[in-house]
Subunit: 479 residues, 2 copies
């Protein structure tokens, strides 16, 4: 994958010989620029957060440019971005509890970025898909959808796939729900798009009746999406051609699909189930649920898969109490092949947060890392037993709650984006090793780490590259 | 208001005398260009459709340019406009019943335009407010809001006021409704905006908790708006300063306010009432309803007021039958001062149309003109008794139904925009005198007539000026 090109000099042939020694020196100094930069980054991004485990952390290959190891630093303001040091939009009306999550859902970025072959791909609520140079932060291209883009772009066969839609119900659907009839979610136009990863050209658009908010998941040349019309679709990445469609009922919310062992995993609401479908045929192999699910529950959480152990981790808000306006969060581990529940762990009651109410899990080294915006705590669970190893209170979580996005594990350190902060956390005991406040606030955002750089977008509409050293300088010595 | 300026000629003083005869000829021919064009148009636009009666028809003043009497012709494509001869968006998924109304609500223009002092002001679903030259159709400026603009711009003190918001409910609100708790409508950011009518500069923005979809109504220097958070707001036009706020509960939908006799009239849903508030204090003077209201009922219809007779006309869908998926439409006439119902007339059962389900009334010469998308019929009712004088089946209404927008009465002719057509109708018997198909399809659009030109925007995202002669050449001889 590494293409070496010779540096070009603006000299004529006749002077070339005399300049060879200087040219060699320059060539050596400039070598990183001459190397195919893309080779230093992830070469595939098939699912949410880049891997079934949701651990978006990537070591640099040997010989990578020094600046990538040191970490690059830039900020990119999207269309409609708010001042980084200012409040969320309309805080005077929506208040401290509601304003941050409305800004997450309708202005900036809902979930984390994709960093693939030297390009950062970002979906924004205003319907834009940005492709940014990972080193400089400069926009390479911008594409636009008809409705909000709230997912993490996935890539297959050189095509960036995104789903578009919104969380709304029409009044007709509101009345239907009250009468216990099936409902479709999604107010505006909903569609799945394929854009050329290099040029941003729209290759195809697949319209759906209900919203297509979740991120897709891809296996080989086919990508999967659950939607607000109760269906799971398998589309050919290159063409958007429908391969199969399975109706499971209910609606998808923010449960991004995952793929492992020839199965597609995806959560749905109303009824609340996580489904495992045969990727080739679309046949439902198993479905699973937990008791007393609250709100959007199973359909709003992106399952993680430990591919080494064949375990699926899913989280749901449960036990909602309308009187106290509190709820709990239930993490379950299931056998990936059968859906058999291995353990269930409650993370504790707390005030029901607005909008997205759960935390996305990340699994690494036999430990499940997961937050709960109910209590604004972050947890480490033993993957084998579900036992809570430690928990930490997330500083400055605010009344909207924090702990929604999945963490990253890199160099013996857990990296978390929660509330207004980036944290470096000791995986042994949950002690905060370092903190950095880059401005704005994080929604369901997971940090993406490549070498010495942490990439994160935020609710305020910014994409940022931050050297890990800005968060915690001690990371290099940890393993 | 009429400023006469001399035509300018590119000639020096010395040659002027010799050219006087030619100059006089040219001056006569060019006179219209020299006159203040704005004086030929409405000089105020305080409420939906330009007048409390909803009759947006304006004679030209004496001496108006001949081309305005003849009628101008242009088409302006808004951002995201669909081909005029093509289908609605995503008809393959949304089908013939759903696609036209989704296109009305999320792509093009929901209601009619404002034509004020030579400028056409248009709100688009994509959040843009366009100011177009009424003679040429050229864009003078474009302003943008954070969410859809689905109303008819009103103007007070040189400020264009628009409300922004969407029809959606979050799942939390869906569940609250099922538990019979109060709900707030509006998913994304909601706000009322003031833009400078001449430059398009945003002067102020007043954020609201629930959607601000309806058109405002103005009295002197103050404008009124009902919103999805159950409030009616009075704002100073020039500054957006809150004058008063009255909580009535429920939510506004597309019921644009009206003003007469010092009272503000506005419909709300859940509970369904039309309210009359004292414009100065915000105190509720009376409220009224009808039996067995269906769907968004009172809150989705813009009341008309006959200012000569002191009568308020309001329409609601009623008697919804979930089994047959049919409903009726009930028109009521109320005493403007007291809300006392003078009569109620049902327009007939038919299939419940998708989205906006009622027709907006227009009153002229003792007759109420109103459509019903349930039956896709258009009616003339005796204003004194409510008796149906005649009805006509609207041709080419399609499965989405037609008859939503109010009609205009001009030169002894009723002008209607319904389905894909513009109609000239005989007010005596409902006979169609002329038809014109300008492309696309009309939502809740009323024709605006100025001299020989009919202005209309459509669901496909186009604004068009059409000579009345294109619809019906016989109009000039009618009175």
């Amino acid at each position: 994958m590494i293409a070496v090109s010779r540096p070009r000099f603006p000299f004529g042939k006749t002077r070339w010989a005399a300049l060879v020694p200087l040219a060699l020196v320059l060539a050596a100094a400039c070598a990183p620029q001459g190397v195919d930069l893309a080779a230093n980054y992830a070469q595939s991004w098939p699912v949410y957060a880049g891997s079934p485990e949701h651990n978006a952390a990537f070591d640099l290959p040997a010989g990578a440019p020094a600046n990538l190891d040191k970490g690059v630093r830039w900020s990119f303001a999207e269309d409609g971005a708010l001042p980084l040091d200012g409040p969320p939009k309309d805080v005077n009306v929506l208040r401290d509890r509601g304003a941050p999550v409305k800004t997450t859902q309708f202005l900036g970025n809902s979930v984390g970025v994709t960093v693939y072959r030297g390009t950062v791909y970002v979906e924004s609520d205003l319907g834009h898909l940005y492709a940014l140079d990972a080193v400089t932060g400069k926009a390479l291209w911008t594409a636009t959808a008809d409705n909000a883009l709230m997912g993490n772009p996935v890539i297959a066969d050189g095509v960036v796939l995104v789903g578009s839609g919104d969380t709304g119900f029409s009044f007709e659907q509101v009345m239907a729900y009250a009468q216990k009839k099936p409902v479709v979610r999604g107010l505006g136009f909903s569609a799945i798009y394929g854009f050329d990863a290099a040029s941003g050209k729209q290759l195809w658009r697949f319209a759906t009746l209900g919203e297509a908010m979740p991120s897709l998941a891809c296996l080989d040349h086919v990508c999967f999406e659950g939607t607000g019309d109760g269906n799971i679709y398998a589309l050919e990445a290159k063409t958007g051609k429908l391969i199969w469609k399975t109706e499971v009922g209910g609606f998808a919310s923010m449960s991004s699909a995952n793929v492992f062992g020839g199965l597609v995993y995806i959560g749905f609401t109303n009824p609340n189930y996580i489904y495992a479908l045969d990727a080739a045929s679309g046949k439902v192999v198993w479905k699973q649920t937990v008791d007393r699910i609250a709100n959007t529950g199973m359909g709003d959480n992106s399952p993680a898969v430990d591919t080494a152990k064949g375990i699926v981790i899913q989280n749901s808000v449960v036990d909602g109490d309308p009187k106290t306006r509190t709820m709990d969060s239930a993490v379950v581990a299931m056998e990936a092949k059968t859906g058999t529940i291995l353990w269930e762990t409650k993370l504790g009651r707390g005030p029901a947060p607005p909008a997205y109410k759960a935390g996305v899990s990340m699994v690494h080294g036999g430990v499940v890392y997961i937050g709960s915006p109910n209590t604004s705590h972050f947890f480490a669970l033993d993957e084998a037993t579900g036992k809570i190893l430690w928990s930490m209170a997330i500083p400055e979580a605010g009344p909207a709650g924090a702990g929604r996005g999945s963490a990253a594990f890199f160099h013996g350190t857990v990296w978390l984006a929660a509330g207004p902060n980036l944290f470096a956390i000791d995986p042994k005991d949950g002690k905060v090793l370092g903190t950095h406040k880059p401005g704005g606030r994080f929604g369901i955002v997971n940090p993406v780490i490549v070498g010495g750089t942490l990439y994160a977008d935020n609710s305020w509409g910014w994409v940022q590259a931050v050297p890990l050293d800005d968060v915690y300088t001690g990371w290099r010595s940890r393993r």
